[in-house]
Amino acid sequence: MRNLQKLGRYSPPLQLVSSGGIVTAKEGFFDHPIEKKAEPARFAEAVEYARNLSSIQTDVRSLIEDYARQIAEQFVAVQTQTQTRSESVAHKFQELSRQWRTETAHLSSVTKQVMHPSYQRIIGLGPAVLPILLQEVRQQSGYWFWALNAITGEDPVPPEDLGDVPKMSGAWLNWARQRGLI
């Protein structure tokens, strides 16, 4: 950046142009015919210009590299954050579903099962828990249809299939397949 500013003192070779917070150098050297300048001064100026041009290229490259690095870092950070969140949701689900099973597996009341605080907290994990729930539905590990319905607002199960776990599972897995979720 210092080189860019230094170059600004030499008129006319380069003009500093600021656009969107990024300073770039605009070439203007050949706008001014050589004949108008004394030869020795013109030569010294050209040498200085060439030197500074090289420095500017380095600066611009450095700026681009910095910018690219920042974008890459942000991208990696977002990916890591997403992965961490996904692992965190999976961990939370395991913990809550274990507690839910322990405390409700002996109950026949669907209402008591789905109103259990752990089940409600699983619903509270939101759309992030959908892939895990669909996996559980595939394994027919529990009555996850209520949670799927609560999270998605959808109900793909025909009324005549209510209570039939294999058929309800099939309906939800078809629904997920049609939306590219599995």
């Binding site: 409700t104 209402t111 008591k112 027919q140 590990s141 529990g142 209570g163 039939d164």
Partner: protein
């Protein structure tokens, strides 16, 4: 075969004989099991419930649900020749929690939520704690049930024959 886990859930269980008779499954629950079904869960909310019966978690709604299977109210769970009986358990707010079905031996069979089916000697073995008390008995004649089963089979046979005749006439 006893189960310390089940005994920890139902503390009266060890007061009589009991036996685990199935693996754990989420495919049916105690209400379905009382109605001798094993392919779906029965419950007024979020599961199968007989058509035209109020989807309410009340004893009257459960009585009506089992009326669709030929049951009517009775006073006790004493084994009666020619009848089969079921019983409804309720919690302290009179909400149904569980049902058990009487076997021809006089013992009872219960599906424990998503856990196993067990045969137990008395209803009291599952009382208190999670299921509350057994309060409402229902019974239906075994003979009628068998006759109804025979009629169903005959009707199915007739329908099958009609279907075959229709298919052959189309061809």
């Amino acid at each position: 075969m006893s189960s310390p886990y089940l005994e920890s859930l139902f503390q009266n269980l060890r007061d009589g004989r009991y036996e685990i008779k199935s693996h754990q499954t989420v495919n049916y629950n105690c209400i379905a099991w009382a109605a001798t079904e094993t392919h779906r869960k029965w419950w007024p909310v979020g599961a199968y419930w007989p058509p035209n019966v109020p989807r309410e978690e009340t004893v009257p709604a459960f009585i009506l649900a089992f009326a669709t299977r030929g049951y009517e109210q009775c006073d006790n769970g004493v084994l009666e020749d020619g009848y089969e009986k079921v019983v409804i358990y309720v919690d302290s707010s009179q909400t149904p929690t569980h049902m058990a079905r009487q076997l021809s031996s006089g013992q009872w069979t219960s599906k424990l939520g998503d856990l196993e089916d067990i045969e137990h000697e008395t209803l009291r073995q599952l009382e208190e704690g999670h299921y509350g008390r057994a309060i409402q008995y229902l019974k239906r004649p075994v003979a009628n049930h068998k006759r109804a089963g025979c009629l169903t089979l005959i009707a199915r046979g007739l329908l099958h024959s009609i279907w075959k005749v229709s298919i052959s006439s189309i061809r």
